[in-house]
């Protein structure tokens, strides 16, 4: 509690020199500040920090003991600062852009959000000393430790980087002798590394430390990239909050002195969805079924999406089929064009189009966008199922009905459609089965259906095959029991 005492001393001194205005940015522990910012925080007993928790490993959401919690390196630093000041810590999560306005309007006391201390920002806020300079690292398998020591050692090797990232650019320009493979997600990169498909992954330092700190099979070192320089990351506070800045810098100095950051990152890494659970080594990992809640949520969403999509798809398909067998030439052309277009384009693109293109006009949640896209897609197929079902009824049936004086409508309703249904029903059933499987495509827009959740489990459990097997079994159970159920009703319908 040495620090606490020191700070209290400082506090007393500060209160005696209220009128002095020293430059906050050059504040050091021994300097004397003049404002009441630190005192106010002590008075209310709580330090309120603002952050934008979507930036792992700096700050992000994690589920701890079933509760949604914000964790990260910045949070660990904030804990340390609050402890040093001797107050509680409160975290407010908001959009990154809202942080500085929130600071200026006294909603928060400081910002810890992996924020770079740029000149532009310094106009409106004061920054602490930078507490972290992000490095660009290379991650390799621990067993290869002796093989590689710098970016120059990867000539002819296969390296990976995240698509569209700074690391991709660096790998391209500074590791020209290596074969570069880019993937969408860090977790996929690490899995590829562990399974030997990659020899190294270029990653941002904090990320690399967070992952490797929890996985003994991986190690990391600084890549020595020339283009990897970044502005230092610092804590933002209100202008002229000199006493607070001083206190914060003291804590930061201590963190630096004791080299606490790697420990913070390792602690944080435990909560990354991609790291194995705490204390577990490869051998000690629990059963894949421990992740049942992920699979349950995914299965639930898959069923929900499929059922809703098949319902709406059937409505759309029924309507289209009516139009296509109807007399209105214009509508018929439209319906035919729709069916041909939808059947002639990949569902993947349809899903992304609905989400991104339509989402550009109206903001629709991913799940809704997914359901709309799958329904529209299914509608086209259902239309053809109904049409071919109707076509499968022998022509003699409509002739017999018409020759008995029935109108086209009456004949369709009482004679043709009931017979067509017997052909439509099984095909509709297999369309349902198809949708259960195909709806996995909506995972591309981030809907947490079964495939998406399978990927999450792959990351969390660090196992590649078991989650796939579980998910495959679940899909099979779904489709097989559905098929059996449909066969049962089909059997009930057949009476001749």
């Amino acid at each position: 509690m040495k620090n606490k005492k020191g700070l209290l001393m400082l506090f007393y001194i500060l209160t005696m020199f209220l009128s002095l205005g020293l430059n906050a940015s050059s504040a050091h522990a021994e300097e004397v500040a003049s404002d009441s910012s630190l005192e106010e925080i002590k008075e209310k007993g709580v330090l309120v920090i603002g952050t934008s928790a979507d930036f792992p490993p700096y700050e992000f959401h994690a589920t701890i003991d079933g509760k949604d919690t914000i964790v990260g390196m910045d949070i660990e630093i904030a804990k340390k600062i609050a402890e040093d000041i001797g107050v509680e810590l409160e975290i407010k999560d908001m959009q990154f852009d809202s942080l500085i306005p929130a600071l200026e309007t006294n909603n928060i006391d400081m910002i810890l959000a992996g924020m770079s201390a740029t000149k532009e920002r310094q106009v409106s806020v004061d920054f602490s000393d930078p507490y972290y300079f992000a490095t660009q690292n290379i991650v390799i398998r621990a067993e290869d430790e002796e093989l590689y020591a710098s970016k120059k050692d990867f000539s002819g090797k296969v390296i990976g980087a995240q698509m569209g990232s700074l690391q991709e650019t660096l790998a391209k320009s500074e590791m020209t002798d290596s074969e570069l493979i880019t993937l969408g997600q860090t977790t996929e990169l690490l899995l590829s590394l562990k399974t030997g498909k990659l020899d190294a992954v270029v990653m941002e330092g904090p990320n690399a430390l967070a992952f490797t700190g929890n996985d003994e099979s991986l190690i990391t070192f600084e890549g020595g990239f020339e283009g990897g320089e970044t502005d230092g990351t610092a804590i933002a506070m209100r202008k002229d909050a000199d006493t607070l800045v001083t206190a914060v810098n003291e804590s930061l100095a201590e963190i630096k002195e004791q080299d606490l950051i790697p420990g913070y990152l390792a602690e944080t890494g435990k909560h990354l969805e991609t790291a194995p659970a705490e204390g577990e080594t490869e051998a000690e990992k629990g059963s894949i079924l421990d992740y049942w809640s992920y699979f349950l949520e995914g299965t639930g969403n898959t069923i929900f999406i499929s059922v809703v999509s098949v319902l709406f798809g059937s409505l759309i398909g029924g309507l289209l089929a009516l139009i296509r067998i109807g007399d209105n030439k214009f509508l018929r052309f439209f319906a035919t064009a729709y069916v041909e277009f939808v059947r002639g384009t990949p569902m993947l693109i349809q899903v992304m189009f609905i989400y991104f293109a339509v989402g550009y006009l109206i903001n629709i949640p991913a799940l809704l966008a997914g359901i709309i896209a799958v329904s529209l897609n299914s509608g086209a197929y259902v239309c053809e199922i109904i049409r071919s079902g109707l076509a499968s009824v022998p022509k003699g049936q409509i002739e017999a009905a018409r020759s008995l004086g029935m109108s086209k409508k009456t004949a369709m309703r009482h004679i043709i459609f009931p017979q067509a249904l017997k052909n439509i029903w099984p095909a509709l059933g297999s369309e349902f089965v198809t949708i259960i499987k195909e709806s996995s495509i909506v995972s591309v827009i981030g809907v947490s259906e079964l495939i998406f959740q399978t990927r999450v489990v792959t990351s969390v459990s660090y196992r590649g095959i078991a989650p796939l097997a579980v998910s495959m079994v679940i899909y099979f159970i779904l489709t097989f029991s559905l098929t059996k159920l449909l066969n049962y009703y089909e059997g009930k319908m057949a009476h001749d």
Binding site: G396, Q397, A400, R402, S403, L404, G405, M406, D496
Partner: protein, 241 residues
């Protein structure tokens, strides 16, 4: 009752009927014979506009059918019962339901009325006990008798038969022809397309011989079968008799 004027029918480039002129009178039984592809069935199907004629006119009970509005046409079709080669019973309905559906849905008959008519007609064709069975469990002959009864349930003014025995096993032909013959004797106006020459001889008031889209020759059964004038009629009869 039915007047056919300059009737022609083409399927794409294939001219199946060429300038048919004919009149069928009330109570008359007209049998149409002729080789396959001569246009017999097409002519019959043009009578109730199951096939839309390419040219010419069909006048039924004083009303021209060609160019009629859908609704009016449906109404006139009620009065023209049709029996098909393949029976065309509704497989998803029982025999009784097959017979009740049109009277109930088209003529809006109450169910008990439709049912008692149906039972009466089934008794007439000797299939009363099959009322609650599905068509596919009946023999071909039985199905065709039900089809005839079904057409009769609409109380038509004329019955059109399109090769009613062609799809039947030989041992079942008799029972169906028997029903048709009974019907003929009851004074029903009928047009029958058939290959059963013996039957034609027995029931026809008038026989039409068709070939290559024309009515080549017509007359009483005696004239046609005993002393055909046209060479093609003679050829045809020589082959089938």
């Amino acid at each position: 009752m039915i007047k056919i004027q300059h009737l022609a029918k083409s399927f794409k480039d294939n001219e199946v009927l060429k300038d048919i002129n004919e009149e069928i009178k009330q109570g008359e039984v007209v049998v149409i014979i002729g080789p396959s592809g001569s246009g017999k069935s097409t002519l019959l199907r043009c009578l109730n506009l199951l096939e839309m004629p390419s040219k010419g006119e069909v006048v039924f009970e004083g009303t021209s059918l060609t160019g009629l509005k859908e609704e009016k046409l449906n109404h006139l079709r009620e009065k023209m019962g049709m029996v098909f080669q393949n029976f065309n019973l509704f497989p998803h309905k029982t025999v009784l339901e097959n017979m009740k559906i049109a009277p109930m849905k088209v003529k809006n008959e109450a169910e008990p009325v439709a049912e008692s008519t149906a039972i009466k007609l089934l008794r007439k064709v000797g299939l009363e006990e099959k009322a609650h069975m599905y068509p596919n469990s009946l023999s071909g002959g039985q199905q065709q008798r039900v089809a005839i009864a079904r057409a009769l349930a609409m109380d038509p003014d004329v019955m059109l038969f399109d090769e009613p025995t062609s799809a039947l096993d030989p041992e079942m032909v008799g029972e169906v022809l028997g029903v048709i013959q009974d019907l003929a004797e009851s004074g029903m106006t009928m047009v029958v397309v058939t290959h059963e020459m013996g039957f034609a001889k027995k029931v026809a008031d008038r026989v039409l011989f068709m070939d290559a889209g024309y009515i080549v020759e017509q007359g009483t059964p005696e004239q046609i079968f005993n002393s055909p004038v046209n060479e093609r009629t003679q050829d045809f009869l020589a082959k089938v008799l």
